[in-house]
Every structure is written in structure tokens, then in C-alpha cells.
């Protein structure tokens, strides 16, 4: 059957949009190689000094390690909560499911700045009782990130559950499996890709979270995006260009590997 392909006008317009989408990502490459201390295009000479600054300046290393720690804790927390919740929804189909799921998705649809002021209120209230958990602490940031990522984890796990055949669970139940056995030995092995994806997405969202982090940190819990923000607002630091190039390369590699894996799995 012949399919309806885009014509030359469509292709030309799409190419313009593609160029627009890639242009700012390409623009950071020359800036990262400038020998100047300020943001500028390199004229003639190229230099790797801004890449060296990333390794030598302890601020960058510390904030990368902090972001990884916050990402792992918040992603583990939000994935476990989302998994339990989704299992409850799928296995028992309780009344008011739509309303409950809608409530869980709120942090995803409410404007981020409103979530930010809400979490600012929460963490400054907690700070009154505790000095290691609250405003400007890494645990406080991890909890705030868990609030922001848990809707995404829930959506991914619910989507993979919706593709699962209910009859295998009914069979297990008919053979006398307990709720715990059904969940851990029948359902979870079948949605393990959904669970892994949810954990990875939660980590990535926490790793690059800035809108909320800006409201709930000041001098102690400086995550990587927070440090980049500080370098972007005042005098623009070309080390950010070097860091951006590294992040872009990692993203491209991960997407390339993923598309190859998807293609190979599709071929088999």
C-alpha cells in the first residue's frame, strides 16, 4: 500500500525547525574552547582551560557528587512509592481511582513555580525543628525532588501495568498466591522495564531540576544546576560551556545506544 509521504515544502520547513532545535546545542562548542576568561567566540587560538577548570575547581566536583547523591535518594524514594501506589491501583481497582491518580499527578501539572513556593513553605517550616532536614539541606532537596518526580514515575509504571495481561494475575490468585507473592513474583517481573525506566527518569529529572531547587537552597546544598545558575546570572563563566558540551555528548551517546538497542530488540 502506498503511504502518504511529506513533500518538498514540508521537508524544507522541517529542516528549518531541526536547525533551530540543534543550533544552540552546537553554539556552545566553540564557546567552550575559547582561551578568554569571559564568554566570547575564540579568535584563532583554542584552549581547553575551561575543561581543566571543571576538574580542578572543587566546587564543580562537589556539586556533581551532591547532585548524584540527591538523584539516587530521591529516585529510589519516588520509584518505591510510585510502584506501591500503582500496584494498589492495578490489583485492587479501588473506588475513586481516577481522583486518587489525579491527586498524585498534581505536582506534574501545577506550574513549577507554585510547587517551588509550596516546597519552600514546607522546608522552612521543618527547619524550625531540625537542622539536618529542611531548608538548604541535601535531605530536604531530595524530598522536594521526590515530590516533583513521583508523578512521572507513577505515570510510567501505570502505563506498563496497563499493557500487562490481567489473566496471569488471576491465574496466580486462583492457585492461592498471596498478595505479596502476586506482586513480587508475578507482576513486578513483568513490568521490570517500566520500573527501571521510572527510576532512571526520576534520577534524570532530579539531576537537572532547577526551578524548585532555586527556592529551597541558598549556600549549603548547591546542586550542579544551582551552581550553573549562579555562573549564568552574574558574569557568565565559560566553564558552563565546557560542562554543557560534556552533558550534550553524554545525552547523544545515551540516545544513540538506546535507539540501537530498541532496533535490535525490534529485529529479534
Amino acid at each position: 500500500m502506498p503511504t502518504y509521504r511529506p513533500g518538498p515544502v514540508s521537508l524544507a520547513l522541517a529542516a528549518l525547525v531541526a536547525l533551530f532545535l540543534l543550533l544552540p546545542l552546537l553554539a556552545v562548542i566553540p564557546v567552550s574552547l575559547t582561551p578568554s576568561r569571559m564568554l566570547a567566540m575564540p579568535s584563532g587560538e583554542l584552549s581547553l582551560r575551561h575543561y581543566r577548570a571543571l576538574i580542578e575547581d572543587p566546587r564543580w566536583i562537589n556539586s556533581i557528587l551532591l547532585s548524584i547523591r540527591i538523584g539516587i535518594v530521591s529516585s529510589a524514594f519516588s520509584t518505591v512509592l510510585a510502584l506501591c501506589f500503582s500496584l494498589g491501583v492495578w490489583m485492587f481497582q479501588p473506588r475513586f481511582t481516577a481522583a486518587l491518580v489525579g491527586f498524585v499527578l498534581l505536582p506534574m501539572v501545577v506550574p513549577p513555580v507554585v510547587s517551588a513556593i509550596t516546597l519552600y513553605f514546607l522546608l522552612t517550616s521543618i527547619s524550625g525543628f531540625s537542622s539536618f532536614f529542611g531548608y538548604d539541606t541535601w535531605l530536604g532537596v531530595a524530598m522536594a525532588h521526590a515530590v516533583m518526580t513521583v508523578p512521572f514515575a507513577t505515570v510510567l509504571i501505570l502505563v506498563s501495568l496497563s499493557q500487562l495481561d490481567r489473566r496471569i494475575d488471576l491465574a496466580a490468585r486462583g492457585l492461592g498466591a498471596t498478595v505479596w507473592e502476586r506482586a513480587t513474583r508475578i507482576i513486578m517481573p513483568n513490568i521490570k522495564f517500566g520500573i527501571i525506566t521510572a527510576a532512571l527518569l526520576s534520577f534524570v529529572l532530579s539531576w537537572e531540576e532547577i526551578g524548585v531547587t532555586l527556592f529551597i537552597t541558598s549556600v549549603n546544598a548547591i546542586t550542579l544546576p544551582r551552581l550553573m545558575w549562579m555562573g549564568l546570572r552574574d558574569n557568565i563563566d565559560p566553564a558552563i560551556a565546557a560542562l554543557s558540551v560534556i552533558l550534550i555528548i553524554i545525552t547523544v551517546l545515551v540516545l544513540a545506544v538506546r535507539s540501537v538497542v530498541v532496533r535490535l530488540r525490534g529485529a529479534n
Partner: protein
């Protein structure tokens, strides 16, 4: 009966932790913010009254709506162009389009805003190049103004506009298009009178998503607007952290939530949630 009871207990035990977590860490503090808006600095409706009379707040609201409208129009049109190729192109075209959509999508908002600073600033790529070929003598003001904000936000939001459009284009029946062509309609006419109307739900969905997102946008306007083109979200930030006026910041947040809630309710009257993914 016992089995029925244990089912309900099981559901409660599994679902309670997340619900409890979100009630304590999200719903309760949100009510606290609502309380701020009525009690700080003095109890009463003073802050909401100020919203209606304060010229600065109103000009920021109007600017936010204007920028959101322009960004929505441009993003949906641009997303439409690339989605057509992503969904209906040849396999090679699809791979390239997917790459151009997903790579920016996964890169952090800060990196992308920074990329635009590198392109548009006075000593950026575009001004350096235009000056070196002698086209201009003074650098053009491309950033730290509304133009920069619109460009940066459009760039951020195109991938989000793509997904609802792609879903409506995928579910479209090819035979309708072939029938239109077979009946003598030109490519252009088939596109405008058959293809576009059949993707209407995708267009509405993607326009609503982009519009709602742009209302609460913070990072890109703050970096590319350079403090000169303040939008609502940045105004809330400034009211909380620079001129401590928590009551007004909280009142703006409450109004923003109500406005976005009304828009979402309107959206779901026209589009089913499943069509958006």
C-alpha cells in the same frame, strides 16, 4: 467476606504511603501558602486587592499572557512541521527528525538557555559573524529582551508540542488522504483541507500544553530576559526573595493555580487525556 476485606486492606496498605507523603509534603504546605496570601503582612484580602490595583503586577500579567500566546503560536507551527516528517517521512527522515526532537528534549533547560546566550549575546556567535562580514557595525540587541525570551521558550517547548501532534497524526487513516488525491485534489489542498482538520485534537492539545507551560515558566525568561522582561514566575521569585513580600508572592501563586486549573478543565472538555500522550 474475609477475602473482600483483605483486598481492601491490601489496597489501602499499598496506596497509603504515597498519598500520605503527598498530603504532608504537598497539599498541606500548599494550604499554608494560601494562608500566607490572606494573612501576610496583615490579615484580610489586601494582597488580592493589591493584585487588581498594582500597575507593575498587571503589566507583568499582560506581558506573560502576550509572550505565552506568541510562543504557543510559533511552537505549535514549528512542531507541526517537524512532526509531519517524524511520523510520515521515510525511515531515514524519521531517524533524523527523532534525533532533532529528542536530543534537545533530554538536555537541561539551563544548558539550552545558555546555548541561546552563546548565540545571541553581544559577543555571541550571530553578532560576531554579522560584524565580521560587515553587515552591522554595532551588535544587535537579541537577548536581555522579550525577543530572547520568546526564542528560548519556543526552543524549550517545541518537543512538548510534538507529542500530542504525533499521536493525532499516527492515528490518521492514510486512505482518506489517498482518496482526496485520487479525486484530483492538489498536495497543498489535501494538506490544508483534509490533513490539518483531521489532526485538530492534536493541535488543541499541544497548544494548551504549551500555553499552560509558558504561563509558569521561570528559568528561560530569567536568563534570557536579563531582568528586563519579567514574567509571572520570576515576579513570584522576586517577591519572595528580593523584596520580601511573601503575601503578594503567595497571592500571585494562588491566582496562577486557579487560572491554570480553569484552562486544564477547558482542555479536558475538548480532548481526552489519552490523546495527549
Amino acid at each position: 467476606m474475609r477475602a473482600y476485606l483483605s483486598e481492601r486492606v491490601g489496597a489501602a496498605v499499598l496506596m497509603a504511603p504515597l498519598l500520605l507523603f503527598l498530603v504532608l509534603a504537598y497539599a498541606w504546605p500548599f494550604l499554608g501558602v494560601v494562608k500566607w496570601s490572606f494573612t501576610l503582612p496583615t490579615p484580610g484580602l489586601g494582597q488580592y486587592n493589591a493584585l487588581l490595583t498594582d500597575g507593575l503586577v498587571q503589566s507583568v500579567f499582560i506581558r506573560t499572557l502576550r509572550i505565552a500566546a506568541i510562543v504557543t503560536l510559533v511552537s505549535v507551527a514549528a512542531a507541526y512541521a517537524i512532526t509531519v516528517v517524524w511520523v510520515r517521512g521515510t525511515p531515514a527522515q524519521r531517524v533524523i527528525a527523532e534525533f532533532c526532537i529528542l536530543v534537545p528534549f533530554w538536555i537541561s533547560v539551563l544548558t539550552r538557555a545558555f546555548g541561546w546566550v552563546a548565540l545571541l549575546s553581544n559577543r555571541g556567535l550571530i553578532n560576531t559573524w554579522l560584524q565580521s562580514i560587515g553587515f552591522i557595525s554595532e551588535p544587535l540587541a537579541l537577548v536581555r529582551n522579550e525577543f530572547g525570551v520568546i526564542v528560548g521558550m519556543t526552543h524549550f517547548l517545541i518537543p512538548f508540542a510534538v507529542f500530542p501532534l504525533a499521536s493525532s497524526m499516527r492515528s490518521l487513516d492514510d486512505r482518506v488522504l489517498l482518496a482526496a488525491r485520487g479525486l484530483g485534489s492538489s498536495r497543498m489542498r489535501t494538506f490544508w483541507t483534509v490533513f490539518v482538520p483531521m489532526t485538530r485534537s492534536g493541535i488543541i492539545g499541544s497548544a494548551m500544553i504549551v500555553f499552560v507551560f509558558s504561563l509558569g515558566f521561570f528559568v528561560t525568561p530569567a536568563i534570557l530576559g536579563g531582568g528586563r522582561s519579567v514574567m509571572i514566575a520570576e515576579l513570584i521569585y522576586l517577591r519572595i526573595f528580593q523584596s520580601p513580600d511573601w503575601g503578594l508572592g503567595a497571592a500571585i501563586s494562588v491566582v496562577l493555580v486557579l487560572f491554570v486549573g480553569a484552562l486544564m478543565a477547558l482542555l479536558f472538555r475538548y480532548v481526552r487525556p489519552k490523546q495527549l500522550i
